[in-house]
Symmetry: C2
Subunit: 474 residues, 2 copies
């Protein structure tokens, strides 16, 4: 057994440590939780140079992106600290008693929120900081008062261990139980399965592939006591470029879209995988501009050989698919893949489920539409997506209302400008869409509403004053 492969005993021990820490951590003053979140951010920044260098060696994402991602990770740790201090981790709804018989009469009821207990967090391959050991899910769970057992991603194993060691130091310095953050490791499915099955685990947060996510979601449901599984499984993020947008900004949008398709070598769950364009002169000119901009792009290497093999297979699948033409097949500059652009008709896209699958990497499929109805059919065929982007839908028209409704029906975030890559960390964010983009479309894995994933409401009836003062935290 590899020394960094957690055994079943290791996993049990990590979960038991998290459970043993849970009650005390949930009962810590909010200032203590906030101090932990800030200390973690400070530790990341204090070790920025070696961490970014190590992350670059393990992921090939490059220092610019990795420094930015570290900034983002610190920003959200501190953001959750502020949320904790503002009371967002202990929302209270109080309904005073009303005299008289039911239904109008009632006892004093106070709705409070309890930390759920140990959370299993599956780190992502493509965000070695922001969706990893101290990423968004960990920040949200800690802010909610829940210990976290991280399943490190094998794509950046040493970085995971080094960041974990920093976090363990922070817990120690602050006098907190080391069980508050635990780490398990291993490349095989069995580590994750054992973690999800562990009876101490109260919820799972997962970012990764649809296949792996659905398998673990099924494990969570098959437990004697099923638990919430918050899986963020990626999506194809359609961008609808309407004629009104292309009439004024065609070149600028083409340049921006090419940059979004190739950003991080296309390894984002919000990477635009489908472009919906009217099949007219302006649309054809836009696709030519896009292809030119993609020709100039220089994607970096992919995260690891498995992801690269998946990309190459996805490209080959589209190249050989009936009704699909290859607009651009930029040559690979090893170890980097080349950007690819394909095109098909709306009817073909709607009829062929293979075309609706995500190709993880710098590729995009143009879907030619003739009218609004075809556009709506394409959005409906995509089913669930983290995002949908509508360029040129600003005017209040009946057609635009139909388009907005169709986009809202299939996406967790609807953009009217800009690009879906780059997900702002804020209270209004929603990073989670209908199945199959997420297993739990009502919750978000980015932004402060993620706190609600880890807080269970409890109604207190005629509670004593001391408990109400403490917002239900006994």
């Amino acid at each position: 057994m590899h020394p960094h492969h957690s055994t079943p005993d290791n996993i049990r021990t990590a979960c038991a440590a998290a459970q043993a820490a849970a009650a005390d951590f949930a009962a810590q003053p909010l200032a203590s939780r906030a101090a932990l979140l800030r200390a973690l951010a400070n530790a990341l920044e204090a070790h920025r140079q070696p961490l970014v260098a190590l992350a670059d060696r393990e992921t090939a994402l490059g220092p610019v992106r990795l420094n930015g991602e570290l900034d983002r990770t610190c920003f959200q740790l501190r953001g959750f600290a502020e949320q904790v201090e503002a009371g967002a981790a202990q929302p209270v709804q109080d309904d005073p008693a009303v005299a008289g018989a039911p239904p109008a009469g009632r006892p004093h009821l106070t709705r409070v929120h309890m930390a759920l207990g140990p959370v299993a967090m599956f780190a992502a391959s493509n965000f070695p900081f922001a969706f990893s050991v101290l990423g968004g899910d960990t920040a949200a769970a800690l802010a909610a008062g829940c210990p976290v057992v991280v399943k490190a991603h094998p794509g950046h194993p040493q970085l995971s261990r080094d960041v974990f060691a920093l976090a363990a130091d922070c817990l120690n310095t602050l006098g907190l139980n080391p069980g508050v953050l635990q780490l398990v490791q291993g490349a095989g499915i069995e580590v994750g399965v054992a973690l999800v099955r562990d009876p101490t685990i109260e919820a799972v947060a997962f970012t990764g592939s649809q296949r792996g996510g659905v398998a673990l979601w099924q494990e969570a449901n098959a437990r004697p006591r099923p638990i919430p599984f918050y899986g963020e499984l990626g999506s194809i993020n359609p961008v609808v470029a309407l004629p009104s947008a292309l009439a004024t900004q065609s070149q600028a949008l083409a340049t921006a879209l090419a940059a979004s398709i190739t950003l991080g070598c296309g390894q984002f769950c919000t990477s635009p995988g489908v472009l919906v364009v009217h099949h007219d002169d302006a649309g054809q000119a836009f696709v030519r501009q896009l292809a030119e901009a993609l020709t100039l792009s220089r994607p970096h290497a992919m995260l690891h050989s498995g992801i690269r093999a998946g990309f190459d297979a996805g490209v080959a699948r589209l190249q050989s698919r009936g009704g699909v033409t290859t607009v651009l097949a930029a040559p690979a500059r090893e170890p980097s893949p080349g950007a690819h652009l394909f095109a098909t008709e709306a009817a073909t896209f709607v009829a062929d489920a293979v075309l609706q699958e995500e190709v993880f990497g710098p590729a995009c499929l143009v879907v030619w539409v003739r009218d609004l109805d075809e556009t709506l059919q394409v959005l409906q065929a995509v089913r669930g997506s983290l995002t949908a982007t509508l360029w040129g839908a600003d005017a209040d028209t009946a057609d635009n209302r139909r388009l907005v409704r169709a986009a809202q029906a299939m996406a967790g975030r609807v953009l009217f400008a800009g690009l879906p890559t780059g997900v702002a960390v804020t209270a209004a964010q929603q990073h989670g869409g209908p199945w199959p983009s997420s297993t739990h479309a009502f919750s978000t894995s980015v932004g402060y509403a993620a706190l609600a994933r880890f807080l269970r409401p409890v109604a207190l009836q005629d509670a004593p004053e001391w408990l109400l003062q403490a917002k239900g935290q006994a």
Copy 2:
């Protein structure tokens, strides 16, 4: 085929009608939704006399209870109408754009909420009004802007049809699409399964048995596109009577507890099924007082023969179980069952899963404890429950804090006075607890927070002003 048994074609047609009505109903002005909810309440009241008489013939619950339940049903329909008018069905979180580069810079993000679409609602046997055709789940779904396909409970079939006919009249009078409320019927599992499997259905609300609920929850998860399943499956609702409470109010508490155990012939999901008492003189006196009060009780007949058979089987199971003594076995006065009281030791209760099962009807199991640790073990053994009641835990002591934490860990509502039966309809209510009392412990089936079951968040990025004015409703 029975004329009131929905065929697969009937079910498909009902769901298709709901889906066809969904977009228009979601786009109705809030005043129109509120008017519908109020019209439904008015229609129930206007037909109170024949509806209550019919309900009594079909359920044997008696006119007092049934009139009260009709009042409650109207109260919550009107309560949800007020919530709709107050904006609770369209909550908005707005984060203005911040200039600068990420992570601090960001676009304008507005978090809005969309009606989910057609909801399948499974009516309960034990609440022919309040958890049936126009019950809490229907009120919440309509308030959220979702059409509802009701699966009528076969225990009160004609009442379901009559109430549905009144609702259809209301829709017609208000000029709303009849697809907004649909009804399917049938006593077999196949009707419910077909309803949950129908691809138009976006969520399921269920009140009923653990066995039936878990089977349908599995169906919801096995769909090609899984959907949320909000199942309220009942529980055993432990009541902990601490010595400090018994020292001052023993007789009053015994009388009140006996009334709660036998209320509605014990056919409530919040009926107290377990009483945790210290094994001392005061505890023994209290149990004697409880048995005396139960002896005087006159439960009415149960809802139907199947429920009665289940109660008799549960009583027989406890009577013959090792380590369980029968404190009271009041004789049946047919068609009514007699109240039953059993007793066991904490260690026996904790070790024997059979004792932790709900006995639906007028029975309660006393669990003798010696100290706080045993009390905590009993609560932990119960696992998930809709409620837990702590009498005498008012003082701010370390012991009481441990007790409160244990109760919060296993219940959706924690009471410090009164009894768990009678669930107030208000914003702070939480009627939903950890598995197996509910399939979705984060949501409630009673009170205004139930709106959130049927509203999916969507983040709008740089949305046009007209859409923001409409709170995202295109």
